[in-house]
Every structure is written in C-alpha cells, then in structure tokens.
Amino acid sequence: MTGIRKLAGRGGLYAVIATFAFLGAFPFYWMIIATFKTDHDLFSPLNNPFLFNEPPTLDHLKLLFFDTHFVTYLVNTFWVGTAVVFITLAVAVPAAYSLARWARGWGEALGIGIFLTYLVPPTILFIPLSRFAAALGLQESLWSLILIYPTFTIPFCTWLLMGFFKTIPKDIEEQAMIDGLSRLGAMARVVLPLSVSGLLTIVVFAFTLTMHEFLYALTFISVSLKKTVSIGVPTELVRGDVFQWGPLMAGALIASIPVAVVYTFFLDRFIAGFTMGAVK
C-alpha cells in the first residue's frame, strides 16, 4: 500500500517538475526550431509547427551573421560589459573593503544606504540621465552606457563583496602586517586572493546585468551600429511588416543561452546578495 503511494508521489513529483521545466524552456525550444526551419516551413499555417516538415537549414544563421549587424551588437555588448566590469571592480572592491573592515555605526548605515540605491528604479533616472548624456556629448555613444551601467552594478556588487570580506578573519591580514606588509599590501596579497570566488561572482553579475539591460540602451542609443544585443535584436530585426522570424529567433537564442548558462552557476549567490543573506 505505502509502496503504491510512494510511487504515485514520485510520479506526481516528476510531473510537476516536468511541467515547470517545459513551461520555462519552451520559448527557447521555439527559438531553436525557428532558427533551423526553412521560411516555407515556418510560414505554412497548416504545417505542424513543432516539427521539421522540411529539412533543416542554416540560411537564417547565414543571414543573421552576414546580412545584419548582429555581430556588431555582440561586439558592442562585449565591450560595454567588459568596461563596466572594470569600473565596477575598481570602485566596489575598495568601498566594500572599507565598509567591511572599518565600519562601525555610520558604516553599517552607509552599507544599507548603498544597497538601497540599487532599488531606485531606472524608470526615474533615465530622463535626467539622458540629459546628462546629451550635456556630455555622449548621445549615440556606447560611452554613455559605460558611464551609466555602474549605477546598478556598483551598489549591488559593493554590498555583495562586503559580505565576502566580512567572512575573512582580520587576524590573517594583521599577521601579514606584522610580517612586514603594509595595509594595502596585506589587502592585495592576502585578502584579495582569499576572495577570488567573491570577485568572480561580481564579475559575472556585472557582465550579465549589463547584457540584460534594456531601458537605458533603448533611450540612449538609436543608431543601429551602436546597439547592444538586448535592444539590437528586438528593434532592428523586428522592423516594418515583414518579420524576419528565423534570423530573429537565432539572434535571441545565440545571445541568451551563454548568459543563461553562466548565470545559472552563480544564481544562489545572486539571491543571497539580494535577500541580504550576504551579511552574516
């Protein structure tokens, strides 16, 4: 009796998991299908849309890579992401170290204050920031994004790193200082090597968050050649009445899957930072 119940429970469990996994992943499966289908197959309403009714084709990929600016979007995104990662590291690492090591009352409040700025929504900031970019002559320039993206990477990464630094015992660096290192030397030679996993985490977040960003990129960039993938694919490949669904889906797929894979490995830490479990 209990055996049957156990088996039924097992089946129920797998059914629930399978349903959620299916719903989560289906749009991406749908992108894969469209990427490799011939246009004729894609645009015949009577064909079973879930299968290849005609042999798969690489035409859409060829079109995407050779006849659209997709590669430029990828390069732009990579460049913006890399620059933002460096700025974030340069600003967030010292700030987090300072907060973790020397913060008493005011510092703790400051730490929470920095985290809260992450919650000031881009919807409020983008109008004034668009005037900033104009005043600095950065309209239509990727530099405007590089300047502005740290508004969300710095608060979050500082907060997260502060948690990492707090877990490293003070005694270790004090020992290093007794052995003759300066404070900065102790930080560079002792603390940073011990926080490699924390640093790697913020590199991944800073990079993936810039790839996810949509509103600022849409506001500041309208020249096709300067777009990032996040806006380039939805605005340049979806144009007019003729939707290039094949190349469009290929573009969305190629740009989202690698980010998703990398991000998945760091997801738990992301949540920990979010739910403030990082400070303990």
Binding site: R10, L13, V16, I17, F20, L23, G24, A25, P27, F28, W30, M31, V91, P94, A95, S98, R101, W102, L110, I112, T117, L119, P121, T123, I124, F126, I127, P128, L129, S130, R131, A134, L147, P150, T151, I154, E174, M177, S182, R183, L184, M211, H212, F214, L215, V229, V233, P234, V238, W245, L248, A252, S256, V261, Y263, T264, L267, I271, T275, M276
Partner: protein
C-alpha cells in the same frame, strides 16, 4: 613615530609609518569613489527628476523653469495615465500572486531529491537568466497573430476555427491584438520571467527550516498538509513576503516585456507607467510630464522597499 599612526593602533594592528597605513584615512579614501559616483549618477539625477517634474522642460527646450505642480495635475487628468496606473497595479498584483503560489509548489518539489535535478534546475531557471528582452522576443513569436503554436494546438483539437468551436470561428486567437488577451499575455510573460527568482528565494526559505522541527511534527503524527499549514508556511512567511515585494518592484519597473510584446497597445490597454514614461518623456519629448509620471509611484516603491528591509531582518532572525 608620527602622531597619525595612533589611528591604526585602535585596530589592534601594529604601528606602521605612512599616510596609507592610517586606517581612518584609508577607510574614507577607499569608499570615496563609490560615494561620489552614487551621489553624481543616482542622487543628483533623482533630484533632477523631481525638478523636471515641477518644470516645463522638453527635449527641444530643456532649460528648467519651475512651474509648480501643473504636470501632476495634467497627467492625473489624462485618461491614458489613469489607465496605465490601473494596469500597473493589475499587472503587478495579479502576476505576483500567481508567482508566489507557483513558486511555492515548484520550490517544494525542488527540495526533494530526484534524478536529473541539475538539468531540471537549469531549464526552470532559464527565463530569469536569459536577457529579458530576448526571452520576450521568443514569446512574441509564440503569440504571433497567424503562426502561434498555441493557436495551432487549439485548431487541431477543434477548440478554434470551426463555426461552433468553443473559442470562436476565427482561425486565430490574436493574443496581442485584443485588449483582454493582450493583458493576459503580458501577465503570463511576467509570471514566466519572475517565477525562477521567486522559486530560488522560496528554496532558501524552505531550507532554513530546522529539520528537527519537521521530524518532531512527524513523530507527533502531523499529516503532510498540517505540517505545511502549521509549520512551513508560518516559518517561511517573511521570505515569502520578500519574494512578493521583490516581484512587485520588478514588475512596477519593468518595461521590456510590455515594450517588446505590445508597445502598450492595443489602444493603450497594456500601457503601464514605465512604458508611458518612455513614450511621453523620450519619444514624445515631454521631459517634465515624463518625470512626473515616473515619480508618481515612488512613494509606493519606497514603502515596499522599507517593508522588504524589515521582513529581511526578521527572516534572518528566524
């Protein structure tokens, strides 16, 4: 010894020479760039947004002339704004209620050991980890007015496309072309997108429940559902609250889903405050009204954020 080195002594650190070894000085120097950046790029623009909302600035003439609260009066009398306000709340509350229920079920399932967990986890997390605008593009194609696979299934099983079919005689649902369905579609995509985040938060909550508490309840003979109602739900309530509030903030501020799927249409029926801010303030060039629209919900968001911080504190105690 220089006088300044005493500052380091307070840290229990050995006394060194040089200005960079003075802890207090170093603490300030190291945090200064972060503070300067945040003040310049978040604090200052925030104040500017308030100034804009009280001015008559446009992209053509961006000089600030304070005109008082007339922008707020103007947006409040605008029927599109009122519709967008209503939609924002409907989207946020309906989608987050669904997300909380579904994520609870999913999290409880993911707590159990089973084979192929890592692949299930990867698939379940995909909507959150992929860039939102690109995931939504996939939905745009799935909800296409002619080639939607959902419509194809409906037609194949006879729910659609015959004179006496349940869903109507037309061959397609026109998901994004009818106000009610367009709304449901946007809500559906929001749920799809935010479910993974809420699930991971709920997982954290579930795994923080002390195991002996559950075992004690089992020994006392509490049935599965009773354990859920009397132990798990009360103990994870703060973290459920956090998931809900995060979701609210995300849906309030998200514009990618609506922009990519419907651009606020048909006839503004899916317009929300974030998209309306964009259309008014950037595309329409009315910086002043755009700023007023974007600031309108700030008190609500600030309240939500405060509540979230409190809950987070409590959750840590649990």
């Amino acid at each position: 010894m220089t006088p300044g080195t005493n500052a380091g002594a307070g840290e229990g650190a050995p006394v060194k020479t040089g200005i960079l070894d003075r802890a207090e000085f170093l603490a300030k120097v190291m945090i200064a760039p972060a503070i300067a950046y945040i003040v310049a790029m978040i604090g200052f623009p925030f104040v500017m947004a308030i100034c804009y909302s009280l001015s008559d600035a446009t992209t053509g003439d961006p000089t600030l002339r304070i005109v008082g609260f007339q922008n707020y009066a103007a947006i409040l009398s605008d029927p599109v704004f009122r519709l967008a306000l209503k939609n924002t709340f409907i989207f946020a509350i309906v989608s987050q209620s669904l997300v909380i229920i579904l994520s609870r079920i999913l999290a409880a399932s993911l707590m159990k050991p089973f084979r192929g967990k890592w692949i299930a986890r990867f698939l379940v997390m995909l909507p959150w980890t992929a860039p939102i605008a690109l995931g939504t593009i996939g939905w745009l194609w799935m909800l296409d007015s002619i080639f939607s696979p959902i419509d194809w299934i409906f037609r194949t099983v006879g729910l659609l496309g015959t004179p006496d079919a349940l869903l109507g005689p037309e061959t397609n649902m026109y998901w994004l072309g009818r106000p009610g369905l367009a709304m449901a579609s946007v809500i559906g995509v929001h749920v799809w997108r935010l479910l993974p985040l809420a699930t991971v938060i709920q997982l954290a909550g579930l795994s923080s429940i002390p195991q002996d508490l559950i075992e004690a309840a089992e020994i006392d003979g509490a049935a599965g559902w009773r354990r859920t109602v009397e132990i798990t739900i009360p103990l994870t309530l703060p973290i459920i609250g956090i998931a809900f509030l995060f979701g609210l903030i995300f849906t309030f501020n998200d514009m990618a889903v609506v922009y990519v799927l419907t651009r606020g249409g048909p006839v503004h029926s899916t317009q929300v405050l974030s998209t309306w801010t964009f259309f008014k303030g950037i595309e329409g060039g009315d910086l002043a009204q755009g700023a007023a629209i974007s600031l309108f919900l700030f008190p609500v968001l600030a309240g939500v954020a405060t509540l979230m911080l409190r809950l987070a504190r409590r959750a840590e105690v649990v």
